[in-house]
């Protein structure tokens, strides 16, 4: 990894003393401190994923400070917050994508059902098959549409015969709402699709390995409004069969697609609650300031 990449990683992790910065943000406001304990209801019964006291460090800089939250079965959880608040970093902890960054260190306990995600004995390949990820910028492989979707099933040996693989590809593309648009040109390159189609292809590729959880890191930030609307529709449909955690910069998007919303601020989880409650009756002043657009 070169310096430029490291700097990109650092961007999410720049830290001074956060409480001081928080005060500077709102010089006119009183009592806008980050709470000792997350406000609202971060925990649910029988969660799909359970995170407790998660700290993340880039070298010596701490990017995430003691975050604890649950993600329930088949629910869509939105992670919102201003730039650099650590929401993407937190998301990437959940399928250990941060392992690819040499200087990143994760503390705390993260569980997928009863499986400790950071158990040294755990096979990270298997974990990532169970917890899939969709990235900010559509990143289809420079291969055909078919090969893009078939990539995961092939490396995990999910299909014994060609017909099985065909079926997986078709089902995944159907679920991603892309089948009708590409069924006649499965051999043409995935990079030739439009931005929105590419992102749906990436979603199809992710769900082709039948994950239990899908992590989405700002999946619509590189797309136009129409493509965004399609992806949002897709997220709602997918939530019937998958558990989804989505990082987004758009509060409207969080309100439209998620059942619960977590508000991050400078690496702390300030508030987490039902989406309606967060947006209509935020309990913490930082949350209120953010959703009313006082900073962001």
């Amino acid at each position: 990894m070169d310096i430029a990449e490291k700097m990109n990683v650092f961007q999410d992790a720049v830290q001074v003393d956060p409480r001081v910065v928080a005060q500077e943000h709102m010089m006119t406001e009183e009592n806008l401190y980050i709470p000792e304990k997350t406000v609202g209801a971060p925990f649910v019964d029988d969660p799909k994923m359970r995170m407790r006291d998660v700290n993340v460090f880039y070298d010596t800089d701490q990017a995430i400070h003691g975050v604890s939250l649950d993600i329930g079965k088949n629910e869509v959880v939105a992670l919102i917050g201003p730039s650099g608040c650590g929401k993407s970093t937190f998301l990437r902890c959940m399928n250990r994508m941060n392992d690819t960054i040499d200087i990143c260190r994760v503390e705390g306990s993260l569980h997928l059902e009863n499986q400790d995600i950071y158990d040294p004995k755990l096979d990270v390949v298997e974990l990532r098959a169970r917890v899939g990820m969709v990235f900010q910028k559509p990143n289809p492989f420079p291969k055909s549409i078919y090969d893009n979707v078939a990539y995961g099933p092939r490396i995990h040996g999910l299909a014994n015969r060609k017909t099985d693989l065909d079926e997986i590809v078709e089902n995944s593309l159907r679920k991603a709402g892309l089948w009708d648009e590409v069924k006649d040109r499965l051999d043409s390159p995935g990079t030739g699709l439009s931005g929105g189609q590419q992102q749906r292809l990436c979603i199809a590729r992710t769900i082709a390995v039948s994950p239990e959880v899908v992590l989405m890191d700002e999946p619509c930030s590189a797309l136009d409004p129409i493509a965004t609307a399609k992806i949002e529709e897709l997220i709602r449909e997918l939530s019937e069969s998958y558990t989804i955690a989505i990082v987004t910069h758009s509060m409207q998007q969080a309100a439209r697609v998620s059942q619960r919303t977590a508000y991050f601020h400078l690496g702390w989880l300030v508030e987490m609650n039902d989406t309606d409650t967060v947006f209509t009756k935020p309990q913490h002043e930082l949350t209120e300031s953010y959703i009313t657009g006082r900073f962001g």
Partner: protein, 462 residues
Amino acid sequence: MQTGQLLLILAAMIVTAFIMGRHRALQVAQPLGGIRHLRSLPFYYAMRSAIWCALPALTVLVAWLIFDQTLIRIMVLDSLPTELQPVDGTARNLMLSQIGNVASGALPTDFVDAAVANAAGRLNQLQSISAMAMAVVVIVLAMLGGAWAWLRVSARMPAREQVERVLLVVFMLCAVLAVVTTVGIVFSVLFESIRFFGQVPIADFLFGLNWSPQMALRADQVASEGAFGAVPLFAGTLLISAIALMVAVPVGLMSAIYLAEYAHSKVRSFAKPALEVLAGVPTVVYGFFAALTVAPFIRDVGQSLGLSVASESALAAGLVMGIMLIPFVSSLSDDVITAVPRAMRDASLGLGATRSETIKKVIFPAALPGIMGGILLAASRAIGETMIVVMAAGLAANLTANPLQAVTTITVQIVTLLTGDQEFDSAKTLAAFALGLMLFITTLLMNVVALHIVKKYREQYE
């Protein structure tokens, strides 16, 4: 006046024109309220003045230098009395060099005809007149050009456009120069080859299995007639190149993958330059390493295994050449592998692929064009490499696929054909040009094929 002095004066004048042009532009700008009222920046007015000062003067200077000797020679020869007038080209050259030697004082005047001595005097006289005239013309032209440009400086003059047009022409000439040189080389080789094929049938050259380019110099000499079958040379070249690539491609690629994907950044920052040092070792050093260290080692190992190994073997040359080529493959491959976007790796890893699966299925196909480029460069180097093979592979033109025997290559034969005293009309010497042409065509075809392959199989990422 010497041309060198003249050039110095001209350079000084150009600098002066530049400074004066700039000064003039500033002067023009001042009453208007600053340089923003000029159409171009003062620098461009200065450049324009310099160009006007330099371009006509230099053009005349170059033309003068090219043509004055020819003119002077004609005039000197004309001054000779009719009985001394040379009859053919050779006599003319002889006479001219005699006159020249007398003129420069290398040949005392008592040794030659009085008329020749007169001609030498005339030569000296003409040359000094020519040099004087050239200096005057060039300096006057430079002054006129500079003055013209200086007078024409005005706020509305499009100096920038004009300067850029001149620069465009300069860039174009540089590009043309490279192309013209290449074409020139190809044609000179081509014409000599055609002369060779006039003496030796082209089929004998291309399909002959015997190479022994010894020609009888005298009619009664007991020497071979000369056999010019190039097949053993091609076979030797291919054998050694194949051995070299078999070493360089796997080692280079794997080291590139290790450096780009697995190595810690500290290891990488040390190992990559270290590998590139290999590329800086002169090939002659590799040559004696091959001849004095590797070849005897291979022979000893072969003997202990009961194999007969020549003391100069294709294997030794190929292995050392392979080592030489490792940095070409590894450095270029490493660059293209590192250039594959991080998003591709993330996508693959995020789907649960292991690192090696990611490399095999995503990174390698995406980096393929660059990797092929590196391999191709290495192959061209292998085919064209001379020094190592001269020292380590021997001169015997054996047609064999056994890497333990001595073989010879096209380049080695070109070297041996063209070193030492040569006559440029014998088939022996001309054979070198035909070999050069074949080598050129081979590399060209290889490049075309490889480009085609790359275009067909590349997986292009955004």
